[in-house]
Amino acid sequence: MRIELQKRPVPSRLFAVLSPFIALGLTLVAGAILFIALGKNPFDALYSFFIEPLTEVWSIHELTVKAAPLILIAVGLSVCYRSNNWNIGAEGQFIMGGILGSLVPILLPGFQTWLTLPLMLVLGMIGGAAWGAIPAYLKTRFNTNEILTSLMLVYIAQLYLDWLARGVLRDPNGNNFPGSIRFPDAAQLPEIMPSQGSAHYGIVLALLAAVIIWFMLRYTLNGFEIKVLGANPRAGRFAGFSQNRMVYFSFLLSGALAGLAGITEVSGAIGQLRETISPGYGFTAIIVAFLGRLNPLGAIAAGFMLALTYLGGEAAQMTLGVSDKVGRVFQGLLLFFVLGCDTLINYRVRLVWRKATATAGGQA
């Protein structure tokens, strides 16, 4: 017996819209089963995982802090994936953006003007874009697979950051703890409402980026080019669009946004350069991009959803006594179901019982 996927002649539009919600529902069901297997009451567990974090003001602030980098990265990745370029290395671009932006307050602690922060953000974007340019160069010059190269560069970036934070950039007065000096105030992304919670202006940047990129995709010739090259490279060439230019454009854009996310995380949420600065935002953002149907506005909603799994993981650790890795499990489940639903919208499953027989000229 074998299982075949048969392309549906006309995929259902209704289910294309419903797909993320169905995936969400299936994730909850699978999660409930998981909690039962752990010996917990599934309703209590899901409540503390998904609802409780939304009941208090400070934790809603926390939600935006987690959502901001996810949205920023996912918006860039949406453009990448729409144009058929598979950047899996946003985590590395996030880290390199964080490092380059942090050099300003670490190396020039005395430079504290209104220019400090904008300069850091710009450097962060340059750092991320530069790291993203490497797989783009390798793809256009040597025809390498960008999925592999961008992913491998993540580990280089992680180890490089680890080396910097423990070595040359370590705070000399930090009692040998890894990590740089604390950033001066002028180098910290301010909080929006300091009296109520920790939400910083990163979320504003994220929403702004989402709207701008959405507008670009929807209304401009550049957005048209992205969609054409992603759908049909040959038709794109006929239109006179350059495939190589698009590889660079999408990697530089998504790298810059990931780098921006990195520096806002360091200067907004953390306040210093540490040996790790990301709980896997760059990878989780891949789920965000797909859950948001590769639409920048969809990425906003999906970003908050995935941010909740981070908070829920922490909450579950405290109230249920389960590992915070449960949050990662939920992210994995969600991606699995999103991709599964999308596949089943476009294909139907057929079981073939007989032994495969070759069909001469089966096409025509």
């Binding site: 401009t220 048209f224 759908a231 038709a235 006929f238 000229g361 096409q363």
Partner: protein, 524 residues
């Protein structure tokens, strides 16, 4: 071999119907094929011929009606079942792996594990027996289209079928290769096998078929002995009414040189592509130059080099309206006033899942920048004028669609092609290069497209039409050239060109002495 009473048909269909959504592709088809006859299935593109044979070969499930094999109702659920029943099929588009040998390709299509040596032996025996010369150890990539078709035929014969279905077998063959095929068919018939021969070429059908069933819009419109009919009576059954013929107002004074190709060569970009060798071509305003040739002789490579999708290092080897264009990309060539229509509609000339207005922007955003784009450096797509132009083109070319602005992929082949040709004509290009303008397009749409190409030339543009369809070539061209293995023959006036001469040129009978020969013919 079947030894049935001749009154029981080998294969019969009664009320066979196939419905796709609201379209009745086959509507109550009655067909009877007697043992040992060559039966023609005639009809235009889209008449339902392919749907019918796909049901007979088990590729599609019928929506209604029944199939009888030697008088007994049968269900044919898959091609494998069809082969077990005794039906073999040679498809129009071959399914061969170019990197494998002939014998390996045959082995892939067989059920069960047969040693490759035995297949080679068997294939060699069959190919000798039926006059289908074939080397089982040759790689498919090195073979001509005619030889590839022989592989498909041998592959079908290995199953010892009683009925062989051939789908448009001569559409890719030179006249000489077609003659060879007809000899093979005569042999099959002499052995008592039946042949279902699908074609829209009337002379062929009259020449080799005993009976004919004619389809139009999914229904049988006639069953006859083709030898007792005239080509025009057959055509009427096929088309329903007389097809409007293209009016070409004689030879005009050609104007300025608009296209100048000089000693253009381009290496093959993939192992299976064709290298272009030393191509010379001059086209003046008011001319339609047709480039005939059998598929796979460098047509798409020539198109790519003319359109600028592939550039060449010698800038002067391609010139448009006196400007060097060899190194220019497709956008710059469009800005010189050129327009291009590639062969493949889906995924080359158009993005199927994008709507028509998007597909209009696809090829015109640069040439019509002032109208279609707005917002300065932002380059916003100005939907108002784009939609208006889409409506204008659809009305001009009679594009039939169910929505105002449907996805390109939802249109039928003919309607999408009318839109794609209309998209380029709408900007009144000075030079138009078209590859296979009416491939897979129904007769009504085809004649409209051909008329539009001729009208464009009359208005003072230069038109290059690359086409495999000789009827089309003779209908619209003022001069005709033939491409063979990447070489282009010297264009000759259509009036003095004959089908036989084109057949010879297609077969490569102009190597080296091509120009001299051409001049010799001109002198007559």
């Amino acid at each position: 071999m079947p030894n049935q009473h001749s009154e029981t048909p080998l294969l019969e269909t009664r009320g066979l119907t196939k419905v796709f959504g609201s379209l009745r592709a086959c509507d109550g088809i009655d067909l009877a094929i007697a043992p040992g006859e060559v039966h023609a299935l005639l009809g235009e593109n889209g008449a339902g011929k392919s749907t019918l044979v796909k049901m007979l070969f088990g590729v599609l499930d019928p929506s209604g009606g029944e199939i009888l094999w030697k008088g007994n109702p049968v269900g044919i659920g898959s091609p494998a079942e069809a082969r077990r029943t005794g039906i073999g099929m040679v498809f129009q588009h071959f399914s061969l792996f170019e990197a494998l040998t002939v014998a390996e390709n045959i082995a892939l299509a067989l059920d069960g594990n047969v040693p490759i040596d035995r297949i080679s032996e068997e294939a060699r025996r069959l190919s000798v027996e039926y006059g289908l010369p074939l080397d089982p150890s040759a790689h498919v990539a090195d073979l001509s289209v005619g030889e590839r078709q022989r592989i498909e035929i041998v592959r079908a014969l290995l199953q010892n079928p009683e009925l062989i279905i051939l789908d448009e077998p001569t559409s890719v063959l030179t006249p000489q290769e077609a003659d060879k095929l007809f000899e093979t068919l005569a042999k099959l018939k002499a052995e008592g096998r039946s042949v279902l021969y699908i074609s829209h070429r009337l002379e062929e059908v009259q020449r080799i078929c005993d009976r004919a069933t004619v389809l139009r819009h999914g229904k049988v419109t006639g069953a006859c002995n083709p030898r007792e009919e005239t080509p025009s009576s057959l055509a009427r059954m096929m088309v329903g009414s007389e097809v409007a013929s293209v009016s070409y107002a004689g030879a005009q004074e050609p104007g300025d040189v608009l296209v100048e190709v000089r000693s253009l060569s381009a290496p093959a970009r993939t192992p299976f592509a064709v290298a272009l060798r030393d191509i010379d071509l001059t086209v003046r305003a008011g001319e339609v130059i047709a480039i005939a040739g059998v598929a796979g002789n460098g047509q798409s490579e020539l198109f790519d080099v003319l359109s600028g999708e592939v550039t060449v290092s010698d800038a002067e080897s391609v010139r448009f309206a006196g400007m060097d264009a060899g190194r220019k990309g497709i956008t710059e060539r469009r800005l010189m006033g050129c327009s291009f229509v590639p062969e493949e509609r889906h995924g080359h000339a158009a993005v199927p899942n994008m709507n028509l207005s998007g597909n209009l922007v696809l090829s015109r955003y640069a040439s019509d920048r002032k109208t279609f784009l707005t917002g300065g450096w932002l380059s916003l797509i100005n939907q108002g004028p784009v939609s208006a132009a889409t409506r204008r083109i659809s009305a001009q070319m009679d594009v039939r669609k169910s929505l105002e602005d449907p996805p390109a992929g939802s249109l039928s082949g003919g309607n999408l092609q009318k839109f794609i040709v209309g998209r380029e004509l709408d900007r009144q290009p000075r030079v138009l290069v078209v590859n296979q303008p009416t491939w897979g397009v129904d007769a009504g749409a085809a004649s409209r497209i051909r008329q539009a190409l001729v009208d464009l030339a009359k208005s003072g543009s230069a038109v290059i039409v690359i086409s495999q369809d000789l009827d089309e070539v003779f209908e619209i061209a003022s001069r005709i050239s033939v491409i063979n293995e990447g070489r282009l023959s010297m264009p000759e006036p259509a009036a003095s060109m004959t089908r036989e001469r084109i057949g010879l040129l297609m077969g490569g009978f102009h190597d080296g002495s091509g120009h001299a020969q051409a001049e010799a013919v001109d002198a007559h």
